[in-house]
Amino acid sequence: MNVMSRIVPQPIIPLGPADGAPAPGLEAVAITKRFGAFTALDAVSLKLRPGTVHALLGENGAGKSTLVKCIMGFYRPDEGAVVVGDREVVIGDPRAAQTHGLGMVYQHFTLVPRMTVLENLVMARASVPAVIDWRAERRRLAAFLDTMPFTVDVDAPVATLAAGDKQKAEIVKQLYLDARVLILDEPTSVLTPDEADEMLGLIRGMALAGRLSVLIITHKFREVMAFADDVTVLRRGRLAGSGAVADHTPDSLARLMIGDSSTAVPVERRGPPGTAARLRIAGLRADDDGGLPALHGVDLTVRMGEIVGVAGVSGNGQVELVQVLAGQRAATAGSVSIGDEPYRATREEMRRHKVHCLPEEPLRNACVPGMSVAENMAFRSFDEPPIARGRWWLDPAAMRRAALDLIARYRVKTTGPDAPIATLSGGNVQRAVLARELSREVDVLIAANPVFGLDFAAVADIHAQIVEARNRGTAVLLVSEDLDELLELSDRLVVMSHGAIVHETTPAAADLTVIGRCMAGH
């Protein structure tokens, strides 16, 4: 257990695909990780064979991210060992992992947004010269990229890249750092299905060529079946099963993931939508963060008991539209009304009209990361009884009670109501916000990518809740990048492009080629 390898930073010379030894395998042996009294991983083992793609599956909060972070030295496991190739290694920090040929792409982007791809890549190396000759570095990177199946604009600031290109840049970065074992934490959740297929195909090709061993975390069975050789399934911090993908079906994997508990049954949309318009948006204009117009006159009506789906490629004004409706951005022109009253998204109006919001990236847009789960769950209700006694005296006990109730009802996995919400797994943050927004009476619901990063059971659960809310008469505006989700849930579907609604149809009458053309801006 004590093979403490000395870590000497070495200059990294990018290897072409042909040279260099074949990629090593990776083994995690009986890893245990505790956070306080909570055991996130309980003696979990995983074996990644050299030159293969290995999928890691599990519910939200099962411990997938924790396991790979232990391997990468981001966390220090309480027990267990990591073997790279045939040598046991002690990895103290991500930089040490790099010297062992391990590279990881995290669940969220870790490139510096305002620096160029070139700057990001060069600065991530283990040894950077004291004075950097950018022109020479650029030449070297270009030469390296020529040997790669990827193309990335190296001079573009990362912030200007589309999600797919950002993800590619993250992967290119790891390859540039000469990673031979690549760990990807939900690399496809930010990508469209086409982008995901392209990226996974490229990675699989490199694994087949013996250049890479890949460990990939995903919630999508389709990707596991199509691109992975082996699979390991975690359930509540324990190993639930592993083996060759060929021996499994999506159903058998699903059973391994959730055990005997049942998933929500899909809820049918019942009855036609109401006739009364509930949310009316007329000629809405707004600027983006840079002060440039992002919405160019959006007209949209949502009736009672209707789900209106907004499709579109991300970055076409969806974020700004949701922000205006949530009161996070001022409109520059146009009007929003609810019922017959104008609506300016003040807290008072939101409460009166029962407007609720599920913004995307909830940890950033709908939570205070350092505050507790209970406090975050009380954001809608802390100033009214029973949490606020006499309207201004906070009752923390009542707040905790309310939170415990929500945690149980929405199955939020947390160490307790007092844990900072930032310590929850990605999917559980989403659930916590959902619990806050959906547990009260809702007349208007604005949801943006509500199942982003959720496991299949949670997806079924949340879709059922949204449809149930609609059946109760809630007007739902559902913004999503996932066309399948929209086709399944919506009563009516609109396409947003360049800050305006360019097409309207119903799922039944939808013509995918027309929708695709509209999304592409033609």
């Binding site: 991500p94 930089r95 010269p129 950018w134 963060d289 002060g291």
Partner: protein, 308 residues
């Protein structure tokens, strides 16, 4: 030759001379603050650092007879205060702005306390370089008596810009200021980088302070600084966190500060105090003109607590 011989031409000349003189402390403090803010931390304590630098520089010059030793000690005193700021901010749940304000009060208070014995004696001053030797006009000559510290500051600005763009430490500094998350993933130690950046920023501010007591106005007393340290923070924002723009901004503020005395020297005494307030009015005007409630400032390091 005397004032009258140049007449109204004396005003722009005096403003220019003033700009060069008055801008030097602005320049050093703003370069220091720029460096610190690039690492994602704001140090409002530089006002205290400035006064502390003025006092310690003056005292050292007086005691050793060497004004350059004073400059060095002023810088070291400044980096000591910067280090203190960084060390306190590295603790959990500590706000850099609050710490800065506390250190501003500590720095000035300590300087007044320790500097009492040095108000009376006259310390040797920094020599100026007579760039006006060719002129027969006393006014021109005195205007072009330029302190070497100003030239050092001028050279420092492009050097910093180059360093931030092309050296390893400059890039690491910017990464830490742009995204602590990314810096951590790359394995850089955020607190150590910020400590070095704040200490270096403090050094510059301390040197800026020594200019006050060792060159212009050139004495030590408790009314030496009139908020230059704080104004310099606004100046960094105005300069969009660009060291070279800091030079121009400093000159602008210096020139505005010299307007009152320059007008007085040609006999315009009306509104003297109004003209003296020019730098402050300018600060306010610039802050209002460059701010927006709708989008964030271009160029601001993303980790800065005031812009997040």
């Amino acid at each position: 030759m005397d004032h009258a011989s140049l007449g109204w031409w004396g005003v722009p000349l005096a403003v220019l001379a003033g700009a060069i003189r008055v801008s030097t402390p602005f320049l050093f403090v703003s370069l220091g603050e720029c460096l610190t803010e690039k690492s994602g931390r704001i140090n409002l304590g530089l006002e205290g650092t400035l006064v502390m630098g003025a006092m310690s520089g003056y005292a050292t010059a007086y005691l050793t007879g060497n004004p350059w030793a004073g400059v060095l000690v002023a810088g070291l005193a400044g980096s000591l205060l910067g280090t203190l700021h960084a060390m306190i901010c590295a603790l959990e749940r500590v706000n850099d702005i609050a710490v800065g304000i506390a250190l501003m009060l500590l720095g000035t208070g300590l300087a007044f306390f320790l500097g009492k014995p040095f108000i009376q004696p006259q310390a040797p001053q920094l020599p100026a370089i007579p760039f006006g030797w060719w002129s027969s006009s006393a006014q021109v000559r005195s205007a072009l008596d330029i302190n070497p510290l100003f030239l050092v500051g001028l050279a420092l600005a492009p050097l910093l810009l180059w360093g931030l763009r092309t050296t390893r430490w400059g890039m690491v500094l910017r990464i830490v200021g742009e995204s602590a998350e990314a810096a951590r993933a790359m394995g850089y130690q955020i607190n150590r980088v910020r400590l070095l950046a704040t200490a270096a920023g403090g050094f510059f501010a301390g040197v800026g302070g020594s200019f006050l007591s060792l060159s212009y106005p050139g004495s030590w007393n408790e009314r030496l600084s009139s908020g230059q340290g704080i104004t310099a923070v606004a100046l960094v924002i105005f300069a969009r966190w660009d060291p070279v723009l800091c030079v121009w901004a400093s000159l602008l503020f210096g020139g505005a500060g010299a307007l009152g005395p320059a007008l007085q020297s040609v006999g315009v005494t009306q509104g003297y105090h109004l003209f003296n307030a020019a730098p402050y009015v300018l600060t306010l005007a610039i802050m209002i003109a460059t701010s927006s409630s709708r989008h964030r400032l271009a160029g601001a390091p993303a980790e800065l607590s005031v812009t997040r």
